[in-house]
Symmetry: C2
Amino acid sequence: MTDTHDNLHRDWDAMHHDQPSMATDATRDTEVQAAWDRSVAAHEALAARPGVTFQADEEIVIVLHPGFDTLDAIGPHYFLSSMLGATIHLATTGEPGAPVVSAGGLPLTPTIALADVADAPTVLLVPGGDTSVLTNDPHAMTDIRRLGYAAQVVASVCTGAIALAAAGLLHGRRATSHWSVRHLLAGYGATPIDERVVVDGNVMTAAGVTAGMDLALRLVGRLRGDEYAQFLELGAEYAPEPPFGTGTPGKAGTELTALAQDFFATVEHGLRAPAT
Amino acid sequence: MTDTHDNLHRDWDAMHHDQPSMATDATRDTEVQAAWDRSVAAHEALAARPGVTFQADEEIVIVLHPGFDTLDAIGPHYFLSSMLGATIHLATTGEPGAPVVSAGGLPLTPTIALADVADAPTVLLVPGGDTSVLTNDPHAMTDIRRLGYAAQVVASVCTGAIALAAAGLLHGRRATSHWSVRHLLAGYGATPIDERVVVDGNVMTAAGVTAGMDLALRLVGRLRGDEYAQFLELGAEYAPEPPFGTGTPGKAGTELTALAQDFFATVEHGLRAPAT
C-alpha cells in the first residue's frame, strides 16, 4: 500500500505546507477535511510514540550489479524508503547512467556509481543474484570493502552475503545466506548460521530472497524504533501465508531440496572461496 | 536468489546452445562441468514432474501508474518472471517511454502503454498504491475494463482491487484488498472477504502489499503446476518470520490498528464508491 509511503514522504510535508490554502478553500468537502485531520493526528501520534524517531537523515546504499535479484533489493527498499527523511542510493557497479538489469529482466535506473558513494553511509546493503559478477569485479569488491568498513550497518540478502564474505567483511562473524550456499561462508572465515536473519554486531545477514524483508523490518526497528517498524509491518499487511509450505529445505523435504541444490549447482560452484 | 531466474531464463537456453562449444573446450574445469551436468539434469527432472509445464508463452500485464506501490508489483514480478517463456509487460498509464515513479520513489521503465496492450492477455495484474490516480483516470479505467473482460486471469494486490471494482470487474465477486479499505468493496457490488488471497473463478485478489507474493505463487501453480510453484517457493526461501507479529489488525491489536486506520484516512476516503 502506498499510503504508508505517501503519507510519510509527501503528504506529511504537504499537510504542513498546503494546510493554509486548503483551509481557505471554501469549496472543500468537510468529509475530506475530517479525513485529513484524522491522518494528521495519526502522524503526530506515531511520531510521539516511545522510542520512535519519525524523521532522520540516514544514507542507505543498495548495491546494484548486473543480474542482481530484484526482490532482494526491492523488498528492503520498500520498508527502508518508508523512513521519512532517509535517502536511498541505488549504487551501480557499472556506468552511472545506465539501467542495471536484474536477474528477472527488470531494468532499474541507478542514482549513483558505487565508486562515487561517500564513505560512512548509515547502511550498506548488498542484494543477492548473480553474485559471482560482484566477486569477480575487483573494483566493486574494493568499494564494498571501503564502504563496509565505514558503514554504521552492513547488510546482505541471499547470496549477497558471499560478496561481503569475499570482501573480508564477515571474517569471524556469524552470518547466513541462501540455504544452498550458506555452507560456503565457512571458506571465507565466517560461521554459517541456519537462521532467517543473523545479527552480529553491526552486520546483519538475511537468508534467501524473501528474508530481506524480515531483515529490513528489524533494521527499521533498530534505526527508528520498534513501534515504527510495527506500524510498517501492519501497513504492509506482512503476515504471509506461503501457499505450499516448501520455503526451507526442512519444509520442502529431501527430494525437492536435492533437486533444487542440483539446479543451483553452477551458482554454488561459482561462489566457493578460492583455494588457498 | 537469481539462480532460479537465471537458470530458467538464460542458462536453460545457454545449456543447450553453448554445450557443444563448452564440451570442446579443452581447458574446462571438470568440477565446473560436473556442476553444469547436475544443473542440466535438475532442469530436466523439474520439467518432467507431474503436472509441470516448464515452458509456455503467457502474456502477463502489470499496470503501472504514478504512485503505484513498488512491492505490490515487484513481489509478483519476481515469481511470474521465473516462468520460462512468459512475457511480462509493464504497462504504463502515462507516456510510453517515461519512467513511472512508485510511491516509494523508485522509477520503473515501462515496456508498453496500457492503451496499446492487445486484448486477451493471460494475466492482468493491478498493483495498489495511489489507486485514486487510477480510478480518476477514465482512459486507464477503460483499458482495465477492456483487458479485464478478456484476460484469462484478473488479479490485484492491495488497493488495486478497488480499481478492478471501480471498473466493474468485481461485481458479484468475492474479493479482498488492503485491510483498511477492504470494506469499500461492498460499495462497488463485490463481497469483501477477510482472507489473504481470494479466488473467485478467474479473479484473484490479494490483501495488502506483501500478499501479492502469496497470490503470485498460487498463480504460478495454476499456470505451471503446483510442483513448479513449490520449487520457486523453496528457491525464494519463502518461509517468512515477520519480526514483530503485527501484520494484521487482529495481530496488531486495537490501538495500533486504530492509529493506522486514521493514518490512512485520506486514502480510504478517496477510494469510496461514488454516491448513487
